[in-house]
Amino acid sequence: MRTITYAQGIKEALEEEMRRDPTVVLYGEDVAHFGGIFRITSGLQEEFGEERVFDTPISENAFVGAAVGAAITGLRPVVELQFADFLFTTGDEIILKAGMWRYVHGGAYKVPMVVRCPSGAAGVGPEHGQCPEAFFMHSPGLRIVSPATPADAKGLLKSAIRDDNPVLYFEHKLLYATKGEIPDDPDYLVPLGKAAIRQEGDALTLVAISAMVPKAMKVAERLAKEGHNIEVIDPRSLNPFDRPAIIESVKKTGKIVVAEESYKTLGVGAEIGAMLMEEALEYLDRPLRRVAMPDVPIPTAAALEQFVLPNEEKIYQACRELLN
């Protein structure tokens, strides 16, 4: 085992998969010469050359759509969007092309591509700070992953690159510097669609997504000291979504809180709530609680941002309310 950062996990996944498979290409704004604005891809152009790692013009429609064209003709493109918010400039390319090209042609093509989407509020305001996973959970044909640890950052990205479907890979900006252990196995893969039980417990189920996971772990520690052993589930992958992991946990705990950085309305928690209504209502002895962004754009000033962002205290209070 080694200790690496989340950012290193992403970079190692890219390096290893590019060495393993010559059809993997990597491109986006500022990724090649400069190494990406978050410095994830530095040195990759030197190793893999200008054809496989290159900078693009500011043309998200062209270069995200080009990933679809490349994928259906034999490449495995990995596209870096500078910010996850830029997905909204590429609605047609992501939703109608990447998500549907295979379906609309009756399965004639595979669309193996990954779009790396740096997500999360970090003092950068409404157009550079969103966690927009839920918007794309509504779109058929896409795979969606949101790793929370360095090991998952690496293992899920490697799986995403090897997957034959389009994958939106959400990497949270505030997790880049976090550290964690990772096995040395070069084929260390984390399967899409498998949740991680971060901590076992039977008092309450706390589902946490992406940067909410470390906050949830702190809440679990705090509650343990108060005599409540809660279960923390990190779905890791939002499509496919590991429904059984959540349902099994709720059967045990009867209580659930969902913590996410998406907007509350029709967010991930809303989907989990609806799923539980349909499939596990009899096991719930308290109503579901969601800790999410209120439905306002993410403001820039620190005081305002902190006011709307889900945090440890808000998650703790939601849990406490159900445990009382």
Partner: protein
């Protein structure tokens, strides 16, 4: 262009025209549903352009008609099954006649949202370049679609990366009900090449030889690794935007004027003058086209409709 090629192009134009006439009859009689945008009047441009391709090249077609598929050799019975939602089509009931596909013939598809084709074409070009192949991508689009942002982004992207893509505009003068001069800042779409530093030209899209020569030149340019081109063939949509379009936005005089420039009889006359085609051969080709269509319709009618539950298949690999 040798005699064999000229006759091949002629036969495909005839087959396309006869097929669309039959499809229109079927739709009007309520025998098939279908969301069909006819290409009558634009077949010369489509067929002659596709004739310049090698069998391993890629193409993305546009909304107008069946000639792209006929030209590339997709069986017309499959097209009819796609149109009617039956088994035996190319897309298993998912895309209808708007998304006929053939990976083995390099027919990548089309974007139902206009302009979605350009980035896909760029990506196929990227693939060719990364794999050091000498294939090319031919991307058809309409004059109206040249106003999408994707057109401008993709031309620039392909030019910067020198990708082997030939962008071919079928300028038929109308974007549904809006004439080109009301929507577009230039008279000739190919003039937009100057904004991207790529070669190209405007030509008569109803003249088979002009089309063939211009597209051949652009294909050779791309194949040699010199990057994209922007071509424009002037043509005209002789029928409505869709089968059933009341077509109230054009004057009958205008449409009549363009029927006199219909590329099918024009090419026929030219080939007769060149002694490539005789009256007897012309009658034979027409009869053969009708017989192929009869057989294809008979095949289609015997095919079962796609089952509803197949709607849940083919989403993920």
């Amino acid at each position: 262009m040798d005699k064999k090629l000229k006759l091949d192009i002629y036969k495909k134009i005839v087959l396309s025209r006869r097929l669309e006439e039959r499809i229109a009859e079927l739709i009007k009689a309520g025998q098939v549903g279908g969301f069909m945008h006819p290409g009558v009047g634009q077949e010369a441009l489509q067929v002659a352009a596709i004739a310049t391709l090698r069998s391993d090249d890629y193409m993305l077609y546009a909304h107008r008609g069946v000639a792209y598929w006929v030209a590339r050799g997709i069986p017309i019975q499959s097209v009819l099954c796609d149109l009617s939602g039956r088994e035996g089509g190319t897309n298993r009931g998912k895309g209808g006649v708007m998304h006929v596909v053939s990976p083995e013939l390099g027919v990548l598809g089309e974007s139902g949202t206009l302009g979605g084709c350009f980035p896909i074409a760029a990506g196929a070009g990227m693939s060719i370049k990364v794999k050091h192949e000498d294939k090319v991508v031919l991307c058809f689009f309409g004059d109206g679609t040249s106003n999408r942002g994707t057109f401008h982004e993709s031309l620039n992207f392909c030019a910067v990366r020198k990708l082997p893509v030939v962008f071919l505009c079928e300028n038929n003068g109308w974007a549904v009900s809006v004439p080109t001069e009301q929507s577009t800042s230039v008279k000739d779409i190919a003039d937009r090449r100057h904004g991207y530093g790529v070669p190209g030209k405007t030509f008569d899209g109803n003249d088979v030889e002009q089309v063939y020569d211009a597209v051949s030149e652009a294909v050779a340019h791309a194949r040699a690794g010199n990057g994209p081109s922007l071509l424009e063939g002037k043509t005209y949509r002789l029928w409505g935007h869709w089968i059933g379009d009341p077509d109230t936005y054009r004057t009958r005089e205008e449409v009549e004027k363009h029927w006199r420039r219909d590329p099918l009889p024009a090419y026929e006359l030219k080939l007769m003058e060149e002694k490539v085609l005789t009256d007897a051969a012309r009658a034979e080709i027409d009869k053969d086209a009708r017989a192929q269509i009869d057989r294809a319709i008979a095949f289609m009618e015997k095919q079962p409709f796609m089952k509803g539950e197949t709607a849940l298949e083919d989403l993920y690999a």
